[in-house]
Symmetry: C2
Subunit: 393 residues, 2 copies
Amino acid sequence: MGPSDLREILKYSDKPEITSLAGGLPAPEVMPMDEYRRAFEWVLETDGDRALQYGPAEGYEPLRAWVAERMGHRGIPCTAEGVRIVNGSQQALDLLGRLLLNPGDVVIVENPTYIGALQAFTPYQPRYAVVPMDDDGMQVDALEAILAQDRQGAGRVKFIYAQPNFQNPTGRTLSAERRVRLAQLASTYGVPVVEDDPYGELRYEGAHLPTIKSFDTEGNVIYLGTFSKILAPGFRLGWVVASKPLLDMLTEAKRAADFNTASAPQIATYKVVEDGFVDRHIEVIRNVYRARRDALVEAIGEHFPLGVASTRPHGGMFVWAEMPGPVNAREMLMEALEQQVAFVPGVGFHPDGTGANTMRLNFSNVTPEKLRNAARILGGVIQHRLDLLAPTV
Amino acid sequence: MGPSDLREILKYSDKPEITSLAGGLPAPEVMPMDEYRRAFEWVLETDGDRALQYGPAEGYEPLRAWVAERMGHRGIPCTAEGVRIVNGSQQALDLLGRLLLNPGDVVIVENPTYIGALQAFTPYQPRYAVVPMDDDGMQVDALEAILAQDRQGAGRVKFIYAQPNFQNPTGRTLSAERRVRLAQLASTYGVPVVEDDPYGELRYEGAHLPTIKSFDTEGNVIYLGTFSKILAPGFRLGWVVASKPLLDMLTEAKRAADFNTASAPQIATYKVVEDGFVDRHIEVIRNVYRARRDALVEAIGEHFPLGVASTRPHGGMFVWAEMPGPVNAREMLMEALEQQVAFVPGVGFHPDGTGANTMRLNFSNVTPEKLRNAARILGGVIQHRLDLLAPTV
């Protein structure tokens, strides 16, 4: 169950009769189309020379400055110089793999972890060391044990990859205490942390937790942000905040990889965000996604059999469920597809091959009504699998 | 004189008082801004869901189909399935390096060659074998000698990289006979050719020569095209035509690298090109660039001292000059900058470190008047260097 299996599921689940909780897409109905239409019109009328020409590999300076200011509000003081624009966070992951990894090096990841990160890193042939999670995210004691062992041994750990907010796939959030500890460990062991934060703004309850980078005193934390979840993914715009030496290397690698990120979308995005639109717009997204999360979580509570553990994420786009041990999610999927419901079995998110009894459920791009119906069907499928597995009496 | 030196020159030559023949930029005045403005308006009014969402890693299907049809007119019969969209040809070069190269492998390149290709390949740690050029382009006899030697030896040659039309930096074009021979050699030795053709459409005289790929019967040739020179580089849109197995690998690598090329620019570009606009527009570009080439070539003939060999390209954006052996182009550049003229010394385009007496002159983004003045100044600088070098009598 690798990325290509995932794509097969997604292709199959693209059919209109299927209710798909398999995807990981933002909902088009909360994307700011009119704002982008007006922004592109403005850009191509007033700044066409720049919009159509090659641009700087670092990114469009006013957009970088806007991001820098926003980062300041997340406890990450920086200037435009400290921000680089990339083709979505995925490009940052790829470039970081290129810069930091040699074959046989070790990347520490949460277990389960984001499959796109595995896709980005795996071409550089690292090994993965996995840290178990609980409801407070990555277990930092286990992380320290790995770091300590590595220091005494081969010293092959090159970085720690983490999604601290509403993680894909689990929806879990790293606790504030553990964030402090993670930053300290990075410093003590001199190992960078890649803090991948695509969903941080999509919080539906509670207060923002401080970023890991806000505890970073030595430039050990590499922060990745994106416009994909707060505006739209179709323009492929993400950003990186890191130490200057790393950013300079990243920009060199970016130049070699594709010169620069497309100019017009960067300028148009700046035009969309410059007047404070983003905060109003994020409220809209939050309200829509919160209602969807609520619908799914409530329906799971109503329909899933006892013994299924599922998350109630405070934000993001995913709920995670762990079925009783013998229930295999791939077998479940076959049965669910017969009833027109799709999801992603969780095994592919586990670099250690565990997780056969887990599944990821997306709620951002499905209406509440369909989510409720899908949860009812999935509950029935789980119960059916349990019945099949139960000893006959 | 590597890529970063080149960037230093370009930065310096960005000053308004400098007449820069150092860049490699298309002229903004021949970029279709109104067409793109209308296209984006249309896209965001009628196809916003698709334009703002993630898209297929292969590229937007109608754009791929349009490219496929155009390729058919260049002797490359193919369908949309045989075309993949990338973030400019530069991304294709990077992904090909990633797929085809291991450290110590050999890439065969023209000498001099395109510096962006060296930038893309060098992170994968290849060695370069260089093939000398003459006015008919790469000397294929010398190429065959390298291939034959490699076959008897380590077999480390992984591909041949060539710009057959109006090559950057020399402006030279590979003759039709040599194209046939190159395709044959690729087949005989089982070594792929990367045919990088950014300037092919920008022909100012004579008839198009057949593409190398048009002689390819076994899928050995990987063809790279781009919208950067016929529409605008700011959207970072290029394409790859190659065998299906290679394209499938390329798409996997593209997914890992950045998921997909931005959706809206692809759809807008399709909207711009679908009605036959491109051919009319290329005529406009050709007329502007032809006049610039003529101005530069004529002024060189008038002002450069005897003993300087320069090219008269039939298309593209660059003229190349070789000064008498002892004249050093970097020293020349210092003197030229004092007189407000910039160019790129040619040594950085030579992987073998030769070419100290060569320079590249861009004409696409400079007005005829400024080109004439720059050639006059450069002629004076060359003469001055020659005078300094002459034995005193």
